[in-house]
Amino acid sequence: MDDALVVAALLLVAAAATVAVFQRDPARQAIVLSLLGLALAVLFTVLQAPDVGLAQLAVGSAVTPLMILLAVRKVRRKGHRK
């Protein structure tokens, strides 16, 4: 059972990472990055690293998406006015 969980989590992380890279629009990429963070949290828990999983959840669920989306908004506002 342990092996099945590790493999499932690893494949999910690999898929999320691949999908995140090929989202060319940064706002949509932020959504997939947040999912990558969740997948990593599962993987870390399965690899018996709850501390790291907790750090990944804290950072990846709200703070990083918020920063990326704010940067996107700033850059777009700049572009609209030009």
Binding site: P50, D51, G53, L54, A55, L57, A58, V59, A62, V63, L66, M67, L70, A71, R73, K74, R77, K78, R81
Partner: protein, 249 residues
């Protein structure tokens, strides 16, 4: 170099890296093996220091000096961001348009702020016992404040967030870590040595200096994230290009 040529160089580089990396992997100890010489020694040392969470013991006791380095990277990147995102002379502040938020969302935000803050503090305080610590709990605590922005509105966040204080706390967290290290030098054998009494295993006060260093990191991370997000929020919502453009926009 044309785009096409660049892609060829990239493909060659990636393929070469992949080949060398795969070859290196075959020489690594197999996944899930039982040979972890450093890990076993670290666990031993943590139990000797009566710290139930070995990871906190490694971070704040056995490798405390490296964590000082990590903290300094954190501090420096916050400083860099603040410098990059500060309001320059040709920019002006424009009050953001008010956003209508449904009442249920507003209530949820106001209710969850203390709950999230409490969970963040809980995670920091139990860092030496259960999974958690200053790094993780600090981010959770900082997120709790920003529920005011995402569930209520930006002016509410600005009212409840004296930014100068957080900038001060950021520096104070870093300074507390450095000074606690110096205490190890004065009272014990080395910088960042664990000089306090170790207490009883698996209680909140166990681990000597670990809970204190943990708290210092918690303060620094909380205020670092608050300061970072504050500058991003100000840039994205308030600050307009140069004064003339701002008026027409």
């Amino acid at each position: 170099m044309t785009r096409r040529a660049r892609l060829w160089v990239l493909a060659a580089g990636l393929l070469a890296t992949a080949a060398v990396y795969a070859a290196a992997c075959t020489e690594l100890p197999g996944f899930g093996g039982s040979w972890h010489p450093y890990g076993d020694r670290a666990v031993h040392a943590a139990l000797r220091q009566r710290t139930a969470n070995t990871i906190s013991s490694v971070n704040f006791d056995q490798r405390a000096f490296d964590t000082l380095g990590e903290e300094t990277v954190l501090f420096a990147s916050v400083l860099g961001t603040v410098v990059l995102l500060r309001r320059t002379r040709d920019e002006k502040r424009v009050a953001p348009e008010p956003v209508r938020v449904p009442a249920a969302l507003r209530r949820y935000g106001l209710l969850m702020l203390p709950v999230t803050l409490l969970i963040g503090l809980y995670v920091i305080a139990h860092g030496q016992l259960s999974p958690g610590g200053g790094f993780q709990g600090g981010v959770v605590a900082a997120t709790s404040l920003h529920l005011l922005y995402i569930a209520v509105d930006y002016p509410a966040l600005e009212r409840l967030r004296p930014l100068g204080l957080y900038e001060l706390a950021d520096g104070a967290g870093e300074a507390a870590y450095v000074l606690l290290g110096a205490a190890g030098l004065l009272a014990g054998p080395a910088y960042l040595a664990n000089v306090l009494p170790l207490g009883t295993f698996n209680t909140l006060s166990s681990g000597g200096t670990v809970p204190l260093l943990n708290a210092a990191v918690g303060i620094e991370v909380t205020s670092a994230v608050v300061v970072l997000l504050a500058h991003f929020l100000a840039q994205a919502l308030e600050i307009e290009g140069d004064a003339e453009e701002g008026r027409t926009a």
